[in-house]
């Protein structure tokens, strides 16, 4: 996995700005053949990805409702969004969710990766077992955690009652105080393996000579971590943090199954809000506008990531 990250590093910068780097050194005969090979890719992508996407972005600037004629209305959607308390609420929750899950998965993933990177027994067994959450479809993760949190048949209440820590069952997912933490814990649990795999691959690529030299100089574990491990891991960390941010910000299925956005819209992430606007109420243009705002947020994160990578390369 790290090989893939390392390889991407340069191309990411190159391919992110294809317009500036067009190369025209191909021969004419090749051009024809290449088009023939790429056409099966380009046609479906154009029809099912690029054209719908362009149209989706455009719809964000219209007042389109399903069944009605489409009318361009400029930035009116965005003015309305700025005044929409429900939208702000979902955006706030989206940011809290994204930051908490990203931080949790990266920190715990790093801890797990560092533990796996030691010379103790059974690490290869653990490295496989830790993938369990990843092997479950997001919907199933939601269903399983729902069952764990379930008020009557859930494991959590049964265990806490058994231990005598609570007097009566708690309705975790319907509680205003507990719903968000409960959803975030399920989210972190599901995303730890991804981070741990990336980071373990990163740790493996750090040369052991560095640690030996540090040990000769009398460095302790903490100094080693801050002076060798962390700097060497920065590119991988930047990649996994920004990718996770993008993925987590776009979460839909897990939370849909856990709470459907409840209680009272408390866990309605931006994707859930957009889905409801479009497919429950039919405000298609408005939903597309939410999508456009999400693109801006994600682009900002990606841009920051590319800048970090770029600085790495120049350094």
């Amino acid at each position: 996995m790290y090989v893939a990250v390392a390889r991407c590093r340069k191309p990411i910068i190159r391919f992110a700005f294809p317009i500036f780097l067009i190369k025209l050194n191909s021969k004419r005969s090749h051009k024809h053949e290449q088009l023939k090979l790429l056409l099966p890719v380009i046609l479906p992508v154009l029809l099912l990805s690029i054209i719908p996407l362009a149209r989706g972005i455009y719809l964000g600037f219209t007042d389109y409702r399903l069944g009605d004629p489409i009318q361009f209305n400029g930035v009116e959607n965005y003015i309305q969004l700025a005044r929409d308390e429900f939208f702000w609420q979902s955006f706030r929750v989206g940011l809290v969710w994204t930051l908490a899950v990203t931080a949790g998965q990266v920190l715990l993933g790093l801890a797990l990766a560092m533990l796996l990177n030691t010379k103790v027994r059974f690490t290869s067994v653990y490295a496989v077992l830790m993938l369990a959450p990843w092997a479950m479809p997001p919907i199933i993760r939601g269903i399983v955690w729902r069952q764990i949190y379930d008020m009557d048949a859930g494991w959590l209440n049964a265990a806490l009652l058994h231990l005598g820590w609570i007097a009566k069952p708690i309705n975790w997912l319907s509680s205003f105080e507990l719903a968000i933490p409960a959803v975030i814990i399920a989210g972190i649990w599901g995303e730890i393996p991804k981070a741990a795999v990336f980071l373990l691959a990163g740790l493996q690529s750090i040369s052991s000579d560095l640690y030996e030299a540090a040990r000769l100089d009398g460095a302790n574990t903490i100094r080693e971590f801050f002076h060798i491990t962390l700097p060497a891991l920065t590119p991988v960390l930047a990649a996994i943090v920004s990718l996770s941010f993008m993925w987590n910000f776009n979460t839909f299925g897990l939370v849909w199954v856990l709470t459907q956005g409840g209680p009272g819209g408390l866990t309605r992430l931006p994707m859930l809000a957009a889905y409801e606007e479009a497919f429950r109420y039919g405000y298609v243009g408005y939903a597309a506008a939410i999508g456009n705002v999400m693109v801006i947020v994600i682009s900002l994160v990606l841009f920051t990531y590319l800048r970090i990578q770029f600085r790495e390369r120049l350094a």
């Binding site: 050194n25 051009k31 959450p133 479950m136 493996q204 693109v295």
Partner: protein, 273 residues
């Protein structure tokens, strides 16, 4: 010695946390309904029962949903390979503006939330009366997983030397013959990984299927199972657990197959030291 023991303990705590929900749902699926509601936090079922697996296999939509999911998964895997292989070859072997554009799309496509594609796609497919169509959904999934598959295959192809192809070309082989006779055999491991990736992402996908698949005959497994949330009740918890286990099986099988290679590659350095 003490340090090693404490690392071992921490690792076991970590792995228990990660593994626990899977074990819990597995145990629940084999418990009888009264035992599920007995409120005992134990993991091992008191009596081993297959009633919930029988429930989902008979008298419910789950079986047809599994069939639909399998069909969409296999179809998109098959289509994906046919489309991606020549494309990845072109990306790896030629240098051109077109190439840069396709690779640029691969990366930029990742920043757009699914809702922006979904809305126009839904409007389009609805006007064509193509919602509820399994091949239609499969095609959407092909395009959705294409960026990763193309990226992976093109990277792999680049690492195969061109000498082999040049020799074949001198002997008069056509481009198709070169791709299918010479490259395909060396490419099989990467191709297998790409196919598994496509299948699993189609099998797991929820959002597109939720919007596009409306009729009960056409829903895929994740959509069918998500329907039951909010109505667990006594009758549902057990069957839902059983169905969750079934839905996890394909990816679990995949991880079982690749685990040796995976753990080997991941911990290569540790073994060497």
């Amino acid at each position: 010695m003490f340090k090693k023991a404490s690392i071992q303990v921490l690792l076991i705590v970590f792995i228990t946390f990660l593994l626990f929900p899977l074990l819990w749902v597995l145990a629940t699926s084999f418990k009888t309904t009264p035992e599920i509601y007995a409120g005992v936090p134990g993991l091992l079922p008191a009596s081993f029962s297959l009633e919930h697996y029988q429930t989902i296999l008979h008298g419910s939509n789950v079986l047809s949903a599994i069939r639909n999911s399998l069909m969409v998964g296999l179809l998109s895997t098959f289509l994906g390979v046919i489309i991606a292989l020549p494309g990845a070859y072109a990306l790896a072997r030629f240098q051109s503006a077109l190439n840069q554009a396709v690779l640029g799309w691969i990366l930029t496509s990742q920043i757009f939330p699914a809702i922006l594609i979904m809305i126009p796609l839904y409007v389009l497919l609805r006007s064509l009366r193509l919602t509820d169509s399994l091949p239609g959904l499969a095609l959407v999934y092909v395009v959705w997983s294409l960026p990763f598959v193309l990226w992976m295959l093109h990277g792999y192809l680049k690492s195969i030397p061109v000498d082999l192809e040049e020799a074949a070309a001198i002997d008069g082989a056509t481009r198709a013959q070169i791709i299918f006779r010479i490259l395909l055999p060396t490419l099989l491991p990467a191709l297998g990984a790409a196919m598994l990736f496509t299948f699993i992402s189609a099998w797991n996908e929820f959002f597109f299927a939720l919007v596009l698949m409306k009729s009960p005959d056409a829903v895929t497994l994740p959509v069918e199972l998500a329907r039951y949330t909010g109505m667990e009740g006594q009758a549902r918890t057990g069957p839902l657990a059983a169905a969750s286990v079934v839905a996890t099986l394909p990816s679990l099988l995949l991880f079982a197959i690749i685990q040796k290679w995976f753990a080997g590659g991941l911990l290569a350095g540790a073994v060497k030291n």
